[in-house]
Amino acid sequence: MKSAVYTVLGLGGLAASLAGCGGAKPTGAAVTPSQAVASARCERRAPGVGAARADERRESSPVALARLGSRTIAYIADEDDGVVHTVDVAKGEELSVTQIGGAPSQVLVTKDGRVLVSLRDRSQVAVLEPADSPERPLAPLCAVDLPAEPVALAATPDDSTILVTSGWGRALSALDADHLTTRFRVTLAREPRAVVVSDDGSKAFVAHVVGSRMSAVDLKAPDHPVRTVDMTGEDAGLSRPRRRGVVAGLLRGEPRAPERMGCQSFALAKSVDPPGRIFAPQVLVDPGDTEQSTSGYGDGFRAAEVASIAVIDDGTGAPLDSSLKIAAHEGQVAQAQRECLLPRAIAVDPARRSMLVTCLGIDAVVEYDAASADPRQSERRRWQVASGPTGVAVDQVGRRAIVWSQFDQAVSVIALDEEAKRPTMLAVSRKAKAARDGDYALGRRLFHAAGDTRIAADGRACASCHPDGRDDSLTWSTPEGPRNTPMLAGRLTDMAPFGWNGASDTVGSHLHHTLQRLRGRGLEKHEIAALEAFVGGMRAPSTHAPAAGPAATRIARGKAVFESAETACASCHTGGAAVDGVAHDVQSKAKADTDLKFDTPSLRFVGGTAPYFHDGRYRTLRELLVGSDGKMGHVSHLPAEDVDALEAYLRTL
């Protein structure tokens, strides 16, 4: 086995349009295409050489398949080691390793056999091509700059366009498939992930990890409007008494239909038979009645989280209600050990008319009937796989599923046509330096441990509310009042005390409260320490390329406004993102709050963590600046340009 080392080079001075980060509007809008961002020629240098795309799958995943003669080859993106592993699926053997550097998150094989790899941390997509033999590493062609954190890719049905989502950059970029130059780009809502294109090529559906929505982007209309698909679920035949306590509310006949917010939508797949159905594994969340004080996270009225697989009609762009409805007899019982609360990847198996979903935490792959109107109810089989399954692909010729497990850095191969057979495991080579220190690795497993009743009685994991170490954008009912989930990644160092009230001096002591609120049985001391190490070391979103020109001037102006004595912002939010470590009354007490003072929160990454305040009362930064005037600093005296500048500055923190 040979390997090549190369680094994808950034583009000095050529910043990609960061419209995704700057757009104030939560809904999408087309922006001017940014020109030529590829750093070298991206076309194939050796056309026709090496493995070709294996099948009609046009969506990326951490595992992508290619075929060379009768061999099925899997390309696997390994975020920890910064490499792509090339594996012979039938032989169960690693053939080569391509050093990419950065954090390769997903792979797409194009029609002509090129291998596109999204590099989340570098805000690039690396373009490579296979050598004549898969025993040799992939050869780099070019790297394409994109808005912050490109994750998922998809090709249009005619293979003319490659679409790329940017998670932190909140964008969908459409690139010319040959040259990888930008055709257009649209701004999306928070945390987009997977993308699939409708069979007729007219719409792209984009999953969002938070916000109970999916975006449907019009690929044909000149301004590429974005429509929001509401992914909110509902508890069938049930209503929650509102406001005055369960019993009193019932007596007063004040029902409130318990809505469930769609969350954890990382992956999408398109069915083959029946055609035209888009599958979106997600979780339907009931964060509780925030006007009540409750005994934990959520009010325990119904199971806080229930898995679902939404089915979207690709013709109408609307979900089938049946796939968003939780039957009356279901919402109460959470089968902690079995629920797929952290779905991460999906692939369809046309031959069996089924779909396979990987579930983090319970380390399972579950097969569901692809014809079902509520696939979650139509489970066929499940397999135990190596720890941390984040990717899956189906080898239709060899009738196998290839599953990548990031935590174990291992591949599980499932024989699809053999009943009751255990997957075979295949370890890939690891770099010594990436054998992460023990605490971080243990902490990561614990953070994603769904179904672990030591952490939560009902099987919720830390990652349920802090997906990718960020936040679920939800406001939970708690004993102290409503609490909006804070983003963790990159926001904990030097930010003590913790919790909105600043009640805990260390992350460890905050976690004791967390386990109490989740009614977990408790973790060992060294496990809490491992969690602390993990949350403290989680990768922060890649920060934006420094702005230039008028944007830079505006940001500098915003900084001056922020630091001015009139606005007084910096008197509490010292130095922008830093904090004074003191709790203040900014007249933000909500009905169920037990305390009126709140710890000054860090404003680091504040542009990407809407909604705002401990109770999530402000949906946007603009709403916050207008609404909190006079209670938290002063802005009403500012001319409109200065408010714009202040907002622009906040988005750079």
Partner: protein
């Protein structure tokens, strides 16, 4: 007054009256004051994989014990799903609806996503699914069934039947692109059977 069909254990009686629960049993109980009651007797025959459902509609007068025959049809059934341990789902389609016949023993209960219960204590569970574009039907639940007995062979001992709980999920849905409603039936054993005794190593 109790009415039992003489078609034996394979027959299921149901009172075909709105307002009555969709409860099926080997016998039905009437109140003498009810007047004449419509009764449907369904009998499933599964002869070597070719299954038919005989539907007999009767009028029963609880006062006089008079029984009048209103109609009889024999419906050929399609085999829709099979599961390990011998469970099977039969069914037939009628324009926009699908009707499932599930051989069960002892007891079964399924429910629609709206919470409507369909239960049985006779030989079959019957599920009717109707779908329109954008409005799917979903029924989920479980039932008990005996596994088939396996006679002894020269090398293996006989296996006695065991009651196993099976899970059933049936849906019917039609998206804008489906020319007709799409049926999904998933049937699988929910109980793990005790592993066969390992051959002792000497």
């Amino acid at each position: 007054m109790e009415v039992t069909s003489d078609a034996g254990d394979d027959a299921c009686l149901a009172i075909a009256q709105p307002g009555r629960d969709a409860f099926r049993s080997t016998s039905a109980i009437f109140d003498r004051s009810e007047g004449v009651v419509p009764v449907r007797v369904e009998t499933l025959r599964d002869a070597g994989g070719v299954a038919t459902l005989t539907v007999l509609d009767l009028w029963v007068d609880p006062l006089t014990l008079g029984v009048a025959r209103a109609g009889r049809v024999e419906l050929p059934l399609a085999r829709i799903a099979d599961s390990a341990l011998g469970a099977v789902v039969f069914g037939f389609r009628a324009s926009d609806s699908v009707h499932l016949v599930v051989p069960a023993s002892q007891s079964g209960q399924v429910q629609t996503s709206e919470g409507q219960l369909i239960s049985t204590s006779c030989a079959t569970l019957r599920i009717d699914l109707a779908a329109a574009r954008g409005k799917a039907a979903v029924v989920t639940g479980s039932f008990m069934k005996q596994t088939p007995a396996v006679p002894a062979t020269e090398t293996e001992p006989a296996v006695a039947p065991v009651a196993v709980r099976f899970g059933l999920a049936a849906t019917l849905s039609q998206t804008s692109r489906d020319p007709e409603p799409v049926l999904s039936v998933v049937l699988r054993p929910l109980d793990e059977l005790p592993a066969p005794p390992r051959q002792s190593k000497r």
